[in-house]
């Protein structure tokens, strides 16, 4: 998605409501582009009167922010305690080896980003993998393979 300076500026203006607006503005931009373009940090720092160093520290401190563009599909493996005891590390291992990336990385073709998340609170269904917002429960390594296959097939039919 191309970065539009005007759009970023609009988002920052909308969120600029007194003290403490920085995080809300960055959240909106992250939501829009699935990452924080460098331009966004510079604009936010200028418009909100926050030093760029502070904008950068906020952007790198919180897990919700990313400075790199994400892949077309985002896979989140829940690493909460319940999922852990039910085998989420094996599921993550499998996805890592199938995609050839580590958690937190994006494949070179920008098709997949693999991430972990600390508990989604759907513990009865653990291990959970969320694909582009869609939850899949009671995952196993075998089901993880099938999940990737389904996404790839859906992609090739588009």
């Amino acid at each position: 998605m191309p970065v539009s300076i005007n759009e970023i500026y609009e988002i920052i203006n909308k969120e600029a409501q007194g003290d403490g607006s920085l995080i809300a503005a960055l959240e909106e931009i992250q939501e829009r582009y699935s990452y924080l373009p460098a331009e966004a940090l510079i604009l936010a720092s200028e418009r909100l009167g926050v030093p760029l160093s502070q904008a950068y520290s906020v952007a790198t401190f919180y897990n919700a922010f990313s400075l790199k563009p994400k892949g077309k599909h985002c896979l989140h493996v829940c690493m909460g305690t319940a999922c852990h005891v039910r085998g989420s590390p094996q599921v993550l291992d499998r996805l890592e080896s199938k995609l050839g990336i580590k958690a937190g990385e994006t494949t070179r073709d920008h098709l997949f980003t693999l991430e972990t998340v600390n508990c989604l609170g759907a513990c009865a269904l653990g291990p959970i993998v969320v694909t582009d917002g869609e939850y899949s429960g009671q995952m196993t390594t075998v089901k993880a393979d099938r999940l990737l296959k389904t996404i790839l097939q859906a992609g090739s039919e588009e």
Binding site: D19, G20, E27, V58, A64, A82, C123, A124, V142
Partner: protein, 621 residues
């Protein structure tokens, strides 16, 4: 919507609404909590709406479909309860809906395959109130969760909602409210367990001095395996709002914040909606119920940092900064948000307030034990039959919680440990299951009440790996501000990783203990001060497992990859080639219809072959 400019108007509205929201009016309630939605409950309630129309039920029974908050019994979702009879169906699929409508709703007959069967006794139980999971609970905060449409403020009002706020504004002084909360014995439900009344009193005193202050609802529920705060906000957001409004009045505060996790989109949506509805009715805003009292609530989204559950880090985050804690004192009650006195309470604490005001402090203090009053909500997860949210009086034993309500351990396995209080908590072994759950008893055993996460581990759980898991969690979430936590947790984690990989050395246990003591005593905030607890308690109760890893290079639970090997039992292997074809490390060799073999040097111990083998031919040694 009418603007409620006086208490009398609220009373009138409640009377007017009573008829349309009778508790016994016929309806199908479908659980709309996050858990059940994952199971597909959205499609189930849509199917009910369609089917009730198709079979023309409305003309005969005037029956509604109500999407409620989380019922708590997440294991069995999607959950459906047919009221007023209370017929309870679990794991309902869209295909079941036409039959439920024709047989149960119209025909009054039960559908056997959907009736809940108790995993302990095998007994079939048709009604919600008889299911042991519910029967043995004491649902005070969660009482309306399975019953109320969280998007309907009217229904909450019809059930007496905002009555406590009305009572406070019309009949009580701020001091009287604080005295009531103090007398109730309510202790902060976020983990620390500090007296809520005393905290309010301190804040009130400082607000009087400085003329301004804030209250915050801490909904940054970060403990993995705990999701009760989310369920309260999803299922009954108005009770949290009402509790905050009462607290604001008591402390003389006019602005409140809810700091809520970004990972809880449904809770955020419901809370936003509820705040708007409350404003429209004048239950939040400038002149609440014509009392002249002003209070409003804003939502602040957390951005995924566990440390922001710590109150000073949370304040920094609301102020738009990096969520790093700062030394206390000054406590937030003196200098909090933007330097003003601030009172921060957990979601459960705020939700308890309207109940205490309604029923009275003495009534509330009658529940629980000498030092721990009221109820506590636990999320029982892990190796347990009935995963879910349960609310019980303080002082109940772990055994009752795990077996009577939780339904015991699946697959006939034995319980090894119960982990309480998340990454700051501790693991209690099976021999302590009869200990009463209260603040003091748990602390004595090395665990904490925390925010109510209860993870059950069975004989297949490796306690060293379990401790490593928690240490990995806290190490990643350590904000890095203070040295003991930043470097200490890293040192503990690498030692644990070494032990799990089979490279443990004599002296490792002493080294872990020494690190733990240093981190506990010298970290800046509770995250660091409690980070070693999972290691300390597993060392206290499961030292033999550590010793087996270090001295015998053996993982008794057969979990740690560096200490196990996979092999194929030739007698059982049918030579079907399934494992061979799916092995990512190409470690399996063999021919069709002849026993295969695993090369331990190439095997990555990913477990795929075990999952796939239909003949139980693969073992772990």
């Amino acid at each position: 919507m009418v603007t409620l400019t006086s208490p009398a108007l609220l009373d009138n509205l409640r009377v007017k609404l009573a008829d349309s929201y009778k508790p016994d009016r016929p309806c199908v309630t479908v659980c709309g909590g996050t858990g059940c939605r994952v199971y597909g409950s959205e499609k189930v309630w849509e199917a009910f709406r369609k089917e009730l129309a198709t079979q023309k039920v409305d003309a005969k029974l005037s029956m509604d479909v109500k999407v409620t908050g989380c019922h708590g019994f997440c294991e069995k979702g999607p959950l459906v309860v047919i009221r007023p009879q209370g017929v309870f169906y679990a794991r309902v699929k869209i295909e079941d809906v036409p039959e439920i409508v024709s047989e149960t709703i119209l025909g009054g007959k039960l559908i056997d395959r959907l009736v809940y069967s108790d995993p302990q006794s095998g007994e079939k139980i048709a009604h919600e109130e008889d299911v042991p999971f519910y029967k043995n609970q004491y649902r005070l905060i969660l009482n309306l969760n399975g019953d109320l449409d969280p998007l309907q403020i009217d229904e909450y009002i019809a059930r007496g909602g905002y009555g406590s706020l009305e009572k406070v504004l019309t009949q009580m002084s701020p001091d009287a409210v604080i005295a009531e909360i103090k007398a109730s014995g309510l202790r902060g439900r976020g983990g620390a367990g500090f007296s809520t009344g005393i905290k309010w009193e301190l804040c009130q005193k400082n607000v009087k001095k400085t003329g301004k202050g804030y209250i915050v609802c801490n909904a940054d529920e970060g403990d993995p395996g705990a999701y009760m705060d989310r369920s309260i906000m999803e299922g009954n957001p108005h009770r949290v709002i009402e509790g905050m409004a009462i607290g604001a009045f008591a402390m003389g505060v006019h602005q409140g914040y809810v700091y809520i996790r970004n990972e809880y989109p449904l809770a955020v949506k419901h809370l936003r909606y509820a705040i708007d509805q409350a404003r429209a009715y004048n239950l939040l805003g400038k002149d609440i119920l014509g009392s002249g009292y002003e209070f409003d609530i804003a939502i602040k989204l957390g951005s995924g940092a566990f440390v922001c559950g710590e109150e000073t880090a949370l304040i920094a985050s609301i102020e738009g900064r990096v969520g790093e804690p700062r030394p206390r004192p000054p406590y937030p009650a003196e200098s909090g948000l933007w330097g003003k006195p601030t009172n921060i309470n957990n979601v459960k604490s705020w939700a308890s307030v309207p109940i205490i005001i309604d029923k009275g402090a003495a009534w509330y203090a009658g529940i629980g034990t000498e030092n721990s009053k009221g109820t506590m909500i636990f999320s029982i997860v892990g190796k347990i039959n009935n995963t879910g949210l349960v609310e019980v009086p303080m002082g109940i034993t772990l055994r009752k919680l795990i077996y009577d309500i939780g339904g015991g351990i699946p697959n006939g396995k034995k319980i090894k440990a119960a982990q309480l209080g998340g990454p700051s908590g501790g693991c209690l072994p099976a021999e302590h299951l009869d200990v009463p759950i209260d603040y003091a008893s748990l602390t004595e055993l090395g665990a904490i009440m925390g925010s109510g996460g209860l993870v059950i581990a069975d004989e297949d759980t490796c306690m060293v790996d379990f401790a490593r898991y928690f240490m990995h969690f806290t190490q990643e979430e350590s904000c890095g501000k203070c040295v003991p936590c930043r470097i200490g947790t890293k040192a503990m984690l690498s030692t644990l990783e070494r032990i799990c990989a089979g490279d443990g050395q004599p002296g490792d246990i002493d080294y872990l203990l020494e690190l733990a003591e240093t981190i506990k005593s010298s970290s800046l905030c509770a995250l660091g001060q409690t980070a070693p607890n999972p290691v300390l308690t597993t060392l206290r109760y499961f030292r033999d497992e550590y010793e087996a890893h270090i001295n015998e290079k053996r993982c008794p639970a057969r979990v740690c990859k560096g200490l196990i090997t996979y092999s194929i039992i030739p007698e059982k292997c049918e030579g079907c080639m399934v494992c061979l074809r799916n092995c990512t490390s190409s470690a399996i060799s063999g021919e069709k219809q002849k026993p295969h073999a695993i090369d331990p040097k190439m095997c990555s111990r990913c477990g795929v072959c075990i999952n796939l083998c239909k003949f139980d031919a693969i073992t772990v040694n």
